[in-house]
């Protein structure tokens, strides 16, 4: 991806980084200004918003350039789809910011956008040709609408997370604090995953194993990370590479499991470094910065995001999906795992809306649900595509 679209995406990435910093300054800076008696809205937030818009425009530039290069909408494999999800999330943020003007939303959303785009670039980035099933106008219609819907729903998660950090009591140990820290740890593990991948890519690390698969066939497996977990009856062929601590049974994809372990360990290391420096839960470290935020407003932002995102997701992820499935796969619904998980997402947010409107689940319970909803979206993106596979496996 040395071509023009890669450079555009890189610029977009750094604009999002800049926006993150600017929004953080806008949120944290408010305290200092109060001492000087200044209470007017922050200028930094507006500049951050401008940076986010410029970042978005560059990412649109990437999208168009890659479309021209490939000859089809660049949403056809894991790299392209995940990148587009990041772009959609940034677009969703722009909409919600325009309505509510909350800087703190930018401070939380922009890093998530960066994380998603960085995660995307772990997958093969070459422009790939379309297999016959994907050669349809519905590819761009269905996939972009779905990603946009998921992006807007993810804003609900960011706002829910802000609500929880703002309102939870971090001075006492509790289940809630544990789970909030667990969310922070999960996000940090994703950072860990990306860091580890890039580090060993830079070092050009490679370890080849001879192993026996579950059919009893011998084969070779290439690791790009040092093997903590080796393949079934694995024998290291590369000299100088690390010997695995443990060999896995044949039915497990040992190279993937190894990557997951690396991410979790790396996440743990990063998490504890942060805890050691801050000497309190990460949520507790962030909380003082969010003092000026009205919990009711941020609760409404999260609900608004879901109210906007739910119809978009339904249209893209279910209705357009069904139309295309009828054309390409002969039936509008076939219980393919990806279809089922789109349905699960739909049912989950339907339950959320009913709980909120009819059972009065506002504030904290609503915020937890937003977190779970995001977990389902991520599960559908990562796990269903890569592990359960089915008709939607791209990578």
């Amino acid at each position: 991806m040395g071509s023009i679209n890669g450079s555009l995406l890189l610029v977009a990435f750094f604009m999002y980084l800049l926006a993150t910093i600017l929004f953080a300054v806008a949120v944290m800076g408010r305290k200092w200004r109060n001492k000087e008696g200044e209470v007017t809205g922050s200028r930094w937030g507006k500049i951050g918003f401008a940076a986010a818009i410029i970042g978005f425009l560059f990412s649109v530039g990437y999208f168009i350039a890659r479309w021209i290069e490939a000859g089809h909408a660049p949403v056809s494999n894991m790299f392209e789809y995940t990148t587009f999800l990041g772009i959609a999330l940034s677009f969703a943020f722009l909409i919600l910011y325009a309505i509510y003007k909350t800087d703190v939303l930018g401070m939380f959303t922009m890093p998530v956008v960066m994380l998603i785009i960085a995660y995307a670039s772990v997958f093969p980035t070459e422009v790939a040709p379309l297999i016959p099933a994907l050669q349809s106008n519905w590819l761009k219609i269905h996939v972009t609408t779905t990603a946009l819907g998921q992006g807007i729903l993810s804003i609900g998660f960011a706002a829910g997370l802000i609500y929880l950090i703002r309102t939870l009591d971090f001075t006492k140990r509790s289940g809630k604090v544990f789970w909030l820290e667990f969310i922070m740890y999960s996000l940090i593990s994703l950072v860990g995953f990306i860091v580890v991948r890039y580090l060993f890519k830079l070092l050009d690390y490679e370890a080849v194993f001879q192993y026996v698969d579950k059919e009893g066939q011998e084969g070779e497996m290439v690791y790009h990370l040092p093997a903590l977990l080796g393949p079934h009856q694995g024998e290291l062929l590369t000299s100088g590479a690390m010997e695995p601590l443990l060999n896995l049974p044949a039915w497990m994809r040992s190279d993937d499991a190894n990557t997951v372990i690396w991410s979790l360990v790396m996440g743990l290391v990063l998490y504890f470094i942060i805890r050691l420096i801050g000497r309190k839960p990460i949520g507790g470290m962030l909380q003082p910065a969010l003092k000026g935020i009205n919990p009711d407003t941020i609760d409404e932002v999260s609900y608004r995001a879901i109210a906007i995102g739910f119809p978009v997701f339904t249209l893209g992820g279910l209705i357009f999906a069904m139309i295309w499935a009828q054309i390409a796969w002969t039936r509008f619904w076939g219980w393919d795992p990806k279809e089922v998980w789109a349905l699960v997402t739909f049912l989950f947010y339907a339950a959320y809306l009913h709980l909120r409107l009819s059972r009065g689940w506002h504030g904290e319970p609503s915020a937890w649900l937003c977190v779970i909803g995001f977990a389902i979206i991520m599960f559908n993106l990562v796990f269903v595509n890569l592990v359960i596979a089915g008709l939607h496996s791209y990578a």
Partner: protein, 545 residues
């Protein structure tokens, strides 16, 4: 049941009403004491909240509960997710039985999965029961709420009493010098902000986006239609899911059309992407060099002309030609033919020659149609080859005897009887298959020599008729309209009332209070009429914290 007469305005309300439909006065003890009244469904009398005696009442009340509805949604969600742990039966290879497959692939867990019936979860009676319960819940819960709510909003009065006003979430009172002028200004302002403003005895009700309240009911109607459409599939004639294999050059009857329509496969092609392609080269290399660009059947659709007497070849009339590709089915009437499978280079004919071993001379050649071999081939001059046995897909069976796996010539084998002038009666036996050529009884004078084969591509087409689609499309469209209607608009109301020589402002919305607050902000700035978050409510909140 007793009707309720409002002690403030005298309006007679149906039993079960919580807020007087005329003036909004709280009728229920609970609401009278509350800091903020529950505005959900305008406090209307709902059947489910009013009657609970008969069996029908109980069923009605059960399904009208949103709590029950949410429980059904969550159960459906969990059940759906469970079905993705291992692949469903329809996605597993057909070579072994399902019981065997789940055990061999997934061990004990697979066995449990199979025993619980999760391998066919979405077709199980209990999954269908969940969907039926969901549909029932949607219908009853909607009817229970919609009609009273509709009536109440339609007949709502502008004038509200103080008890109603002060129990709103946003409320304020202001003493103003010139009430008429202020209210006139407020009215103009709210009209400009696209509120519909009504007046009664100098009081105002500004309302906006009421139709958003019907969104949920519209989308529920869409859902019910959708489920109805999905159920229609079980009626005979509504749904056909079949397939047909057609060899190049062949014409086959299309199943499900009562022998009326035929499809010819003129040619089937599978095209691969060029590995040298500048843009895609690297990705193709990663994929291992074989990326399919196109599957295509050049097809001709025929209709039968005569009445189809048994035993006669049908007389066919060409209807149309089309290229059937993935994403491009051939359409006729309510049918679609989809490109869904293929088989390349299937053996079609084989040619053999009868050769004398002594002289190495070919006596004659014969071409065998592998789908319809003749019983004997006369080569003239006293030479004749009889097809003694034909095994289209040859194997040795359990008793170690030659047999065939299927009638498709994937691995054809023959036992030929070669009648020659030297062996005019019994002839000589020769066993010929792919990479095998054996004498059956000792040493022969003649042999069958393989001289060539002709292969053809076969296309696999899915035949589909689905008369439920119009219901599905209509249901999904109505659902989407209702969803957008209820999600992208909100119902806002602002009351401006003259009470005790003051002007009272109260505001309510069903969602997105921040937007309503903006309207109130403008109202306050322009007219001085302010509404704040209810103080009693704020006190409550502080008490909780």
């Amino acid at each position: 049941m007793n009707e309720l007469k409002c002690e403030q305005c005298g309006h007679v309300n149906p039993y079960g009403t919580r807020l007087c439909q005329a003036c909004g006065n709280p009728l229920d003890e609970k609401d009278k004491e509350a800091a903020v009244i529950d505005m959900r469904y305008e406090g209307v009398a709902r059947r489910s909240q009013t009657y609970n005696k008969t069996f029908v009442d109980k069923i009605w009340n059960f399904f009208s509960s949103v709590k029950v509805g949410i429980s059904i949604i969550v159960l459906t969600l969990i059940a759906s997710a469970l079905g993705t742990i291992f692949p469903q039966e329809m996605y597993i290879p057909k070579v072994v039985t399902a019981a065997q497959y789940y055990q061999e692939e997934y061990g004990v867990l697979g066995q449990i999965y199979y025993m619980l019936g999760f391998h066919n979860l979405y077709g199980s009676w209990w999954y269908l029961a969940l969907v039926a319960a969901l549909t029932t819940s949607i219908i009853i819960a909607s009817i229970d709420r919609f009609f009273p709510l509709y009536k109440s909003l339609k007949h709502q009065r502008v004038k509200k009493n103080a008890a109603f006003m002060k129990r709103q979430r946003y409320v304020g009172k202001e003493e103003v010098d010139n009430e008429d002028a202020v209210l006139e200004k407020a009215k103009a302002l709210l009209l400009k902000r696209r509120y519909r403003v009504r007046e009664e005895e100098g009081n105002l009700l500004a309302e906006k986006g009421r139709f958003a309240r019907w969104g949920p009911y519209v989308n529920h109607i869409g859902l019910v239609l959708f489920f109805t459409g999905a159920m229609l599939r079980f009626f005979p004639g509504m749904y056909i899911d079949d397939s047909v294999w057609v060899r190049e050059g062949d014409t086959e009857v299309i199943p499900g059309t009562n022998g009326e329509y035929f499809i010819e496969n003129e040619k089937f092609v599978m095209e691969l992407y060029d590995e040298e392609d500048e843009t895609f080269g690297k990705a193709i290399e990663r994929a291992g060099g074989m990326v399919v660009q196109n599957f295509q059947t050049d097809a001709v659709l025929y209709k039968r002309k005569d009445d189809g007497t048994v035993g006669t070849d049908p007389e066919l009339e060409k209807v149309k030609e089309d290229e059937i590709r993935v994403n491009h089915p051939l359409r006729f009437n309510n049918f679609r033919l989809y490109q869904s499978d293929y088989k390349l280079n299937e053996l079609n004919t084989m040619t053999f020659s009868l050769r004398s071993r002594e002289s190495g001379e070919d006596i004659g050649t014969m071409e065998i149609d592998l789908f319809d071999p003749e019983s004997e081939y006369d080569l003239g001059d006293g030479y004749k080859v009889v097809v003694n046995s034909y095994f289209p897909n040859f194997e040795f069976n359990e008793d170690n005897e030659p047999s065939t796996k299927s009638s498709i010539p994937d691995n054809p084998a023959f036992i030929f009887q070669m009648i020659t002038p030297e062996h005019p009666d019994e002839g000589e036996y020769s066993f010929v298959g792919i990479r095998r050529n054996e004498d059956v009884f000792g040493t022969n004078d003649y042999e069958m020599k393989f001289a060539g084969a002709e292969m053809k591509n076969v296309t696999g087409l899915t035949v589909r008729k689905d008369l439920t689609l119009p219901f599905i499309i209509l249901g999904a469209s109505i659902f989407m309209i209702g969803l957008i209607q209820g999600s992208y608009w909100s119902h806002r109301r602002i009351w401006l009332q003259r009470i005790n020589g003051q002007v009272w402002v109260a505001a309510h919305t069903n969602k997105h209070w921040e937007s309503l607050k903006k309207d109130l902000g403008v109202l306050s700035a322009e007219t001085g009429l302010q509404a704040h978050e209810n103080e009693a409510l704020l006190l409550n909140k502080k008490g909780k914290n």
